[in-house]
Symmetry: C2
Subunit: 204 residues, 2 copies
């Protein structure tokens, strides 16, 4: 007898354990859980996953996932279309949206330049960003909101050279101590940058 | 704007986070991972899950999941059909099979008597076990391999009364110190039982 009593179960376990961070024991536990659910629940679950492959659109403007050809942010007239925040991924858009502090629009690169992982500028939606800036009707500020590691910095630098004639202003996220951070535990690089980029003190 | 940029993504996240032990952050991470995969992989994944609802059979003999009407164990003539090991779930069968020490057949109850969770004897495949024993062509040993907690003991006791005239022998799993266990750290109940149920020492 095989390790699994059923080929169907085996295939479900193998599919689930292909997810990142899910081992085969957890996958078995989840598959057996699903097996105990009513058939319509399992079907609903499978359909929701399948829809990811078939029903998700990518915004023609900013490359964000959406249910239509243009995403909810790009089609929103109350947002400032004169500021484009360039991010690596869908999740970054969700993180920034969750702050409630940004009212411009986005551009999702779909990755970051990483020679180690074989990702070059051609794999990202950089040409589309250039096009967008060329067509822009208002002077546009571009915020490079990429991560602070080597790959993020490389990508920011590449983008800077690519769009410097096209954007009215190119900015990047403020870096420094986090709110509530203790000086004692800050790393030297962050602390050093916080001093160099110090800001005028404005008591509120 | 909604918290999720896409209704399709939201539904996938909600479906994934309905799994036990999966929170909404993990569900989002997994959904975004699936989103980055080729469509055919996602489709394969969804199909493997959906098959759990539509293609899994339950063995007419022992109630184990199977791909046919009779499972691989019940249809195997090399197994001893004169010993039936009664277990709570599919996973228990897999655990016992993994030991390689058991060559009889099984009976999967599909749960355990638990008044707190509203599970009574009628919800388990107990009648089917009784029927199986009544029809048995050979004197049959029944091993009650249920867990050692109150619910397991209750179910074992209920089964014992139900089948005591029908089985040639009714046994239960040996309980005692685990192999490699240290006496110092054993709980008093287990240690006490190990002494009461002590076995003849057989040097090998």
């Amino acid at each position: 007898m095989n390790e699994y009593p059923s080929k169907v179960l085996q295939e479900a376990v193998e599919a689930i354990s292909s997810l990142p961070g899910v081992g085969s024991r957890t996958a078995l536990r989840l598959a057996l859980h699903l097996l105990r659910q009513p058939a319509e629940n399992v079907h609903h679950f499978a359909t929701a996953i399948d829809d990811l492959a078939t029903k998700v659109h990518y915004c023609k403007e900013c490359n964000m996932i959406a249910d239509e050809d243009i995403c909810g942010i790009c089609s929103d007239n109350r947002r400032d279309h004169g500021i484009i925040c360039v991010v690596e991924s869908v999740r970054d858009v969700m993180s920034i949206e969750a702050t409630g502090q940004y009212h411009g629009v986005y551009h999702v690169l779909g990755g970051i330049i990483s020679p180690i992982n074989g990702i070059g500028p051609g794999d990202l939606s950089i040409d589309r960003l250039v096009e967008r800036l060329q067509k822009a009707e208002v002077p546009t500020e571009v915020i490079l909101a990429l991560s602070g590691d080597v790959e993020g910095e490389t990508t920011s630098f590449y983008l800077y050279r690519k769009i410097s004639g096209l954007a009215a202003r190119i900015s990047t996220l403020a870096r420094g101590l986090g709110f509530g951070d203790d000086l004692e535990y800050a790393d030297a690089l962050t602390l050093g940058r916080s001093i160099v980029n110090r800001q005028i003190f404005k008591p509120q």
